[in-house]
Symmetry: D2
Subunit: 252 residues, 4 copies
């Protein structure tokens, strides 16, 4: 990355997500797309093209082989493929121990907005007596609440515990089942399913006479691209294994 | 009401609500506060002062005697006192049958904003596949969801049935108990309890690619005063018994 | 439309909008897409296929010829093509006078949500001392405020005048140019331009202690399809010329 | 503050703000209100009562004498009185140099929510191409935009410059004067004035396919009390002069 332009290869380049990544890399002034590889193509094209960093949005069955190849050839990797458990992370860490200077980022969520929302919610939590989480999605979603909403509630609950806050006040003594939402670690979480929506979440914090609301609206799947580019820009300076894009966002 | 200025008497004038009504009447250019009566005062003061219309925010134990007195003396009444069941309404209707020209308004809710929200939600419901209700209140509220939210959901459900709409789409197959809120007549209702809030409600309707949101925020208890004044202005033209302020709002 | 299924032809079927209309018609249980015609195709295909109602999303240069053909052949028309001034409407009305039973709908806006927002804003306006309009769009939009926001403000201003309301209160005496937005007929209108947004508008009405907010979010261009289908379902019962989809929405 | 309970004195105790501070101190388990002093009272009461920390919500004409007295007697001070310019701050710093261990906090804004909103907006700004500020207040406010909105825009503009971001995208080429709001350091700021509102602000940030919104609602003037209490709890650990409550909020 000597001249400030990162040479990028994409694995899973013809998938829906990979195609958006390719477009995003091509549009970025400080990157060059040197190889677009998909199932059936020879992964060696990455090396021939001189890729410095590789994006992987492929499949849990393929990703470990892909990463072994990248690490062996000294290429950094930014990975959105799912299916990483602790044993896989341990294997990766082992490979990276033998490849000083190579960095791998495994990120379950590339939405910068979702990461900021969680971060700000946890930072604000110690200052507010009340807090609840509302997530809103399209009605074909199978789980409620969303994984992001659960994770947000867990982070808020941890921040409250650390600050020595007690339970959230709630005088509800009568009503209908479910009216107060789900209980995640003592934090109430509400899930709405409405046609026309994509993926949205709101954290409402309240104290005497005031509320603070942090809302993230994802209106298009392209919203993960800036996060991938942020990962690509930072990975060269973060050798070893990193889990979670938040570690590359300079927020303090 | 010959000169366009309504002479108003207030029963329950020293109560928290009655005091706000008195202030609102005094501030209105087209009204005159001629009598402010509370428990212990002689109700005959209303007649002596020449009150044309009387506001009653007293107590279920007192309101029927008050209204009999008003009707007997040809004074209209605008009533926010609670506790009216069908038998009480029947008694009132009987009294009014013998007093042509006298009007009585019994209103469970004087918030014009809440009435408009319910009206618009029901009017929009036939055009949207999805709809949910979210109400937000201070954490000392005992019931969840709120009475207004339940009533809103019932009105929406009725409007959907009349339009021949089927159930709201929802693919949720896994998750936490309560995450999808309470079920009121097939409509999902969510209740939030947050310090700093007063009384707020939002109806979100959605179809392919768009949502319509109708939100009512009550930030101060003074919000019921404009509804009482609207009732006072209209009651002279509505002899007989009216239940619900919505009948005096010209919305069509 | 004897058996309850409308046979629909689409003009401009291969355009971006027309293609979405075709998909919407095909997905509707009570409609059948019998002809998809675009520039270069023979418009007579509509007649051969037995189309009862025709959708036109073509071009101002083509639409009048298209409509003359439809009216001559007894086919109803639902038109989203732009460019209709009074003289064009007069010509249409003349043609329709000779074709009893045929209906044509010219609609500048097929978004049911936008129509409901304007309708509700105007209906609520007489009850509130304050009101402002905020519209939010993507940053490549050329005009500010949006046409819908201007139209909304004009409708609100008219409703206030009819109700005898004076000017909106505003004590601003110092500040920065533009801070209070644009003035449309005495109503303040604010335009935001933010990457990631599509087309959104919010009307905020306020009186003592309460506010009522009506918000429309258009997240995807497919949002106009339900309005076109509503037009197709109703046009057979509305012979003659209709301007504006709002006349087909049963809102009273 | 040996036993964890702070002995607090209040100057300006019978003013509207001071009275709320007194109530807040009395309600706090870790504080004791030992002296409530107003104009005409003897300030020496603070010393006699053993006050450890003093809150000053008085008048620019009185505050410097008050602070000299407090510093001379080794009492910390938390100050919401306005009118501090650099020369006054220099005088304070001089006095404090001779009183090691004594702390004085001068805070233009005690709303924790407003401080968090500004902090989060500036922290998020480097990650988003677009950003605008909307503030909403009651219609008797004289200035537009609000001071908080201007300060927020300045902080955002500085964060964008530091991150190397160029101008916010905006293709507006036609429209009405004022529609795009006021320009504060290149950031668009919109001010709404609506009856029923108190003090509200929203920062909307947007990038491809997503937006992040940070909103602060102040519904009651009591909202500044938690900030004053936070100042009182922290001032003993912050000798010397501190300007801005944000330095006492542990946000990193």
């Amino acid at each position: 990355m000597s001249d400030g332009v990162v040479k990028v290869g994409v694995l899973g380049a013809r998938g829906r997500v990979g195609a958006e990544v390719c477009a995003g890399v091509e549009a970025a002034a400080d990157m060059e797309l040197v190889a677009a590889v998909d199932a059936g193509d020879d992964i060696a094209a990455l090396v021939e093209a001189g890729a410095e960093a590789v994006v992987d949005f492929t499949h849990p069955d393929a990703v470990m082989d892909n990463l072994e190849f990248c690490i062996d050839h000294g290429m950094h990797a930014v990975v959105g493929t799912t299916g990483f458990d602790q044993s896989r992370l341990d294997v990766l860490a082992g490979w990276l121990a033998d490849a000083p200077g190579v960095g791998v980022l495994i990120a379950p969520n590339f939405s910068i907005g979702a990461i900021l929302m969680m971060r700000f919610a946890a930072a604000a939590a110690p200052f507010y007596e009340s807090v609840e989480v509302v997530e809103l999605h399209h009605p074909t979603k199978a789980d409620a609440p969303s994984g992001t909403a659960r994770r947000t509630a867990e982070l808020i609950a941890a921040a409250r515990r650390e600050a020595g806050l007690g339970p959230v006040p709630d005088a509800t003594s009568t009503g209908l089942e479910g009216a107060r939402g789900a209980d995640v670690d003592g934090i109430r979480v509400h899930g709405l399913r409405i046609r026309g929506l994509v993926a949205h979440q709101e954290v409402i914090l309240g104290g005497p006479g005031e509320t603070l609301t942090i809302r993230h609206d994802s209106l298009d799947r392209a919203s993960f691209v800036p996060g991938v580019l942020t990962g690509l820009r930072a990975i060269g300076d973060h050798p070893g294994l990193t889990v979670g894009l938040e570690h590359f966002l300079d927020l303090d």
